[in-house]
């Protein structure tokens, strides 16, 4: 039964638009799936390979701008940005990884945080190329209705899910885990840690970049402060995986669902909207202290808390 869970979930999701949700609910659904994709990508590098990146916005933004620049400078449909972003983000991740992967743990985290910010400033300054702070606006989006966007992002998420799972079940997955647990021991066992860390980073980057290219197509407007945002993209990516469960397959989905819904609820309640970051911050602190492996990772702990399992078991 458990083996078929992913296919079952996919089938369920595919039927969702037919049920007849209004466009607002579809928008939420698309956001959840997009964030789940970003979460899974981050999880690959962070949860499984142990390299905690605070700058995933960099890949997201590069992917987004690839699609945007295809439209604004080359006059092509921004959908070409999705396959193109694979190549562009691959190159970018490789170069970035060359610099930051030689740093360990918290220093890596800081370097990635700085890199996200640097990309933002770069996008602002290269205004001849990126339009600077004016951003890129797509005049006519491909579809007015949401259904096709939903299926596209669902496809992207499904591919990501199966890719991550396949990867982690392969030898590569073991290498990642070994690096996470003890990089020096892994190196001494003959594992080329630099190679595998680079692979993890590039894959993680590419998947995030594809989500970014999708975002450009879906939202129709991007600018440096939106797609390279530290708090709105990089930190949300981390929160999604921490809340859902690092190093789990379903964690990012659970995390994305909770975070997006939570954000919408908070925004809709007047007066509470201003406290949005406080509530997120408190949620983050609580999760870190009490449920450090996230909801899926610490599901046993959670079940005990709610009395679903007897404490003695």
């Amino acid at each position: 039964m458990k083996r078929f869970l992913p296919l079952f979930a996919l089938a369920l999701c595919s039927v969702l638009p037919v049920v007849g949700l209004n466009s607002y609910a579809m928008h939420i659904a698309i956001l959840v799936i997009m964030w789940a994709t970003i979460g899974m990508a981050w999880n690959l590098l962070g949860g499984y390979c142990g390299q905690v990146s605070f700058g995933h916005a960099a890949y997201f933004g590069v992917g987004a701008y690839t699609a945007g620049i295809f439209y604004s400078k080359l006059g092509l449909s921004p959908w070409w940005g999705i396959p193109a972003s694979i190549a562009v983000v691959l190159l970018f991740s490789f170069l970035l990884g060359f610099v930051v992967l030689r740093l360990r743990g918290p220093f890596f985290a800081l370097a990635t945080l700085a890199s996200g910010e640097v990309m933002r400033v770069t996008a602002e300054n290269l205004d001849g190329f990126t339009g600077g702070s004016l951003g890129i606006m797509i005049q006519e989006r491909t579809w007015v209705g949401k259904t096709w966007y939903y299926y596209i992002i669902l496809l992207i998420a499904a591919v990501t899910f199966f890719l991550v799972r396949k990867l982690m079940q392969s030898k590569l997955g073991y290498y990642f885990l070994a690096i996470r647990e003890d990089q020096d021991a892994a190196e001494s066992l003959g594992i080329n840690t630099t190679l595998y860390k680079t692979i993890a980073l590039c894959l993680s980057g590419i998947l995030t970049g594809i989500a970014g290219a999708f975002y450009t197509n879906y939202m129709g407007y991007i600018d440096p402060n939106v797609v390279f945002a530290l708090h709105d993209i990089s930190i949300i990516a981390i929160m999604i995986v921490m809340v859902g469960g690092a190093a789990t397959y379903w964690g990012p989905f659970v995390g994305a669902l909770i975070m997006v819904l939570l954000a919408e609820i908070i925004r809709s309640v007047p007066g509470l909207g201003a406290a949005h970051q406080t509530l997120f911050g408190i949620l983050l602190i609580v999760i870190i202290i009490f449920l450090p492996n996230g909801i899926v990772g610490d599901s046993k702990k959670l079940k005990r808390l709610f009395g679903f399992q007897r404490a003695s078991s």
Partner: protein, 309 residues
């Protein structure tokens, strides 16, 4: 022509040094925390913001000059730092989890809460403390009547610089001459040896976090007359503090000041001779270059020199 160029260079240098002094003080708190506890505190800038709000309200409600608020804000920040360490950071250090970087993420959460609480209570309006001497300056032409160039030394900036240097000296004495200070350094150098020598390591960590918070709070009080205040100002200063910590060397007070001065002058020079828009990129470049080529920071250079002799 050359006179103008000289004026530009000297004025830029002065600005850079003054800025650097302040930067150094901001980095001092962080280098202490990172050196002793190996904890990355991404809420550093937000702690400074809290101190700045304290100074602001003291100014608005009781007309206390920001420089005097240091004596109120610093102790308050110390208490806040101790509380954060004891009740939030310590529990996390104990918990078993997959990712070792949990404590960094914890500080991110703390920072978010602090910044947002400030927004809720004080709104995101910009605030400042317009003291009467805010734009006063010492001018070269006042002292040297026929000087060909005009240099100005801003009063509040100069005061902040002096304060920063004095505090660094006091801190240096504290760390090298007092028992508590030496215990802190011991904890930083070798945790196990310190325990064996009878140092109350737990207490030292808590004290260090408090001390680091008090230091950044002091920097905030010194900053508010020359800048302004809003809830999300923490971010850019946290980043600056990191660059200085790495540049100067973890745990080194002298390194922090030197690192600050180097960064300050570097930023000023690039602002004048290149462009101001690329400042964050410059910081990142220094940061990464340091991590890659000089991981011990400036302090390691100084140590090498001493040992070499």
């Amino acid at each position: 022509m050359y006179v103008i160029r000289l004026e530009v260079f000297l004025q830029t240098l002065i600005s850079g040094l003054l800025l650097g002094g302040l930067y150094g003080l901001i980095g001092l708190g962080m280098t202490l925390i990172m050196g002793v506890m190996k904890i990355i505190n991404l809420a550093h800038g937000e702690l400074m913001m809290v101190a700045m709000y304290i100074a602001y309200w003291l100014f608005v409600l009781f007309h206390i000059d920001p420089y005097l608020s240091v004596f109120i804000a610093a102790p308050l920040l110390f208490i806040l730092g101790v509380a954060i360490q004891k009740y939030l950071v310590n529990p996390v250090l104990k918990v078993e989890s997959i990712l070792p970087e949990n404590q960094v993420i914890l500080t991110v959460g703390i920072g978010m809460v602090l910044a947002n609480l400030a927004t809720i209570f004080f709104t995101s309006d910009y605030r400042s403390t317009p003291v009467s001497y805010a734009t006063n300056a010492f001018y070269l032409s006042d002292f040297w009547k026929d000087s060909p160039i005009e240099l100005s030394l801003s009063v509040p900036w100069a005061v902040s610089f002096v304060f920063a240097v004095v505090i660094t000296i006091i801190l240096w004495f504290f760390l090298s001459k007092t028992d508590t200070g030496k215990s802190i350094r011991a904890t930083a150098q070798d945790l196990d040896a310190a325990i064996l020598m009878g140092v109350n390591v737990k207490r030292m960590r808590v004290v260090t976090f408090g001390l680091g918070s008090a230091l950044v709070g002091t920097a905030g009080c010194l900053l508010i007359p020359i800048y302004y205040l809003y809830p999300s100002l923490g971010g850019q200063f946290t980043l600056i503090a990191f660059v200085i910590t790495i540049l100067g060397g973890l745990g080194s007070t002298v390194g922090a000041i030197l690192g600050g001065l180097i960064l300050g002058v570097f930023e000023s020079m690039t602002s004048t001779y290149l462009s101001m828009g690329w400042a964050p990129v410059g910081r990142f470049v220094i940061f990464v270059a340091c991590l890659m080529f000089l991981p011990g920071g400036v302090a390691s250079l100084l140590r090498k020199k001493r040992v070499g002799k």
